[in-house]
Symmetry: C2
Subunit: 175 residues, 2 copies
């Protein structure tokens, strides 16, 4: 495969991985993933994002205990919490901070897939109780919004990519 084919393959092979083997994830791999996150674009290049990276087994379990849709954390090797920082965003806009942190998150999901690891976006935002739980467990200040909790780990292989192409979503020239 040439460069063009491989990135498109990763984009299409990326799937939400919810089944992990329990093996740890190396710090080298996590750094590669975090660097990819920070390569995302942001409004006026303000980069209004921060990342809390968890590898500690007890903390991962504590997050799983309180997050109904993140039980896969019990078997994940790590988690990255992508945070939106409105104070650092263009116009101090919460909306831009959220969008920019979302773009960093998509790079994180793709980089994870490219390393042969798996990940899934579990939402903290916009649920106030989940946001507060993540803030409490990870000491995240009130002015910083944990957008998601992304469990990362070695996939068991059970999760498969979906074909989501739908021609009806495309309008040519006008809506």
């Amino acid at each position: 495969m040439n460069e063009k084919e491989t990135i498109l393959a990763v984009i299409h092979n990326r799937r939400s991985v919810r089944n992990f083997t329990g093996e740890p994830v190396s710090k080298d791999d996590l750094m590669t993933i975090l660097k990819a996150g920070m390569a995302a674009p942001s409004a006026v290049n303000y980069q209004p994002w921060e990342f809390v990276t968890v590898t500690n087994r007890e903390t991962l379990n504590q997050l799983a205990d309180g997050l109904p849709y993140a039980k896969m954390l019990y078997k994940a090797g790590a988690a990255i919490v992508v945070c939106a920082v409105p104070d650092k965003a263009f116009d101090k806009s919460t909306e831009y901070a959220i969008i920019d942190a979302a773009l960093a998150s998509q790079n994180i999901l793709l980089a994870t897939e490219s390393l042969g690891l798996g990940a899934v976006w579990t939402a903290a935002f916009i649920d106030e109780s989940r946001i507060n739980y993540v803030r409490t467990v990870l000491n995240i200040p009130k002015n910083i919004i944990p957008l998601n909790v992304i469990p990362i780990g070695h996939p068991t292989g059970e999760d498969k990519p979906k074909d989501k192409f739908n021609d009806k979503n495309i309008h040519w020239e006008k809506y």
Copy 2:
């Protein structure tokens, strides 16, 4: 390069391209880019996105005329307007629709880069006047939010990637 290296290279080489040669973009390339967009994840897999793809010279110019930060459309070969559709989103949430459309947009930017083309996110959302202008030019209904206008074209080569790695954005184990 192997698969792992190539996607990371594309993620890091992707830059906001604002200088285009004026050459057209093929429909095949646009379809490849749109398919990559639809491979993004979305909340509960609801896929609350639609895409208006413009190649008509007059429409591209008309968009450029009314959008102060999208003057590069005069030299772009095409544009994709990624739309968020709250009615189709999980919980009919505008926030999820915006986030999901942002993830599709990031795939679009990466796929464009991988084809040797260039692109840049110019924001419609959250500016009401730009949102309304794009809606008017492209006949987009009121309940659908044009998140951005992404000019796509052949880069002149002037635009270079930035290294945005910042160790201070990373917190280990706790904030």
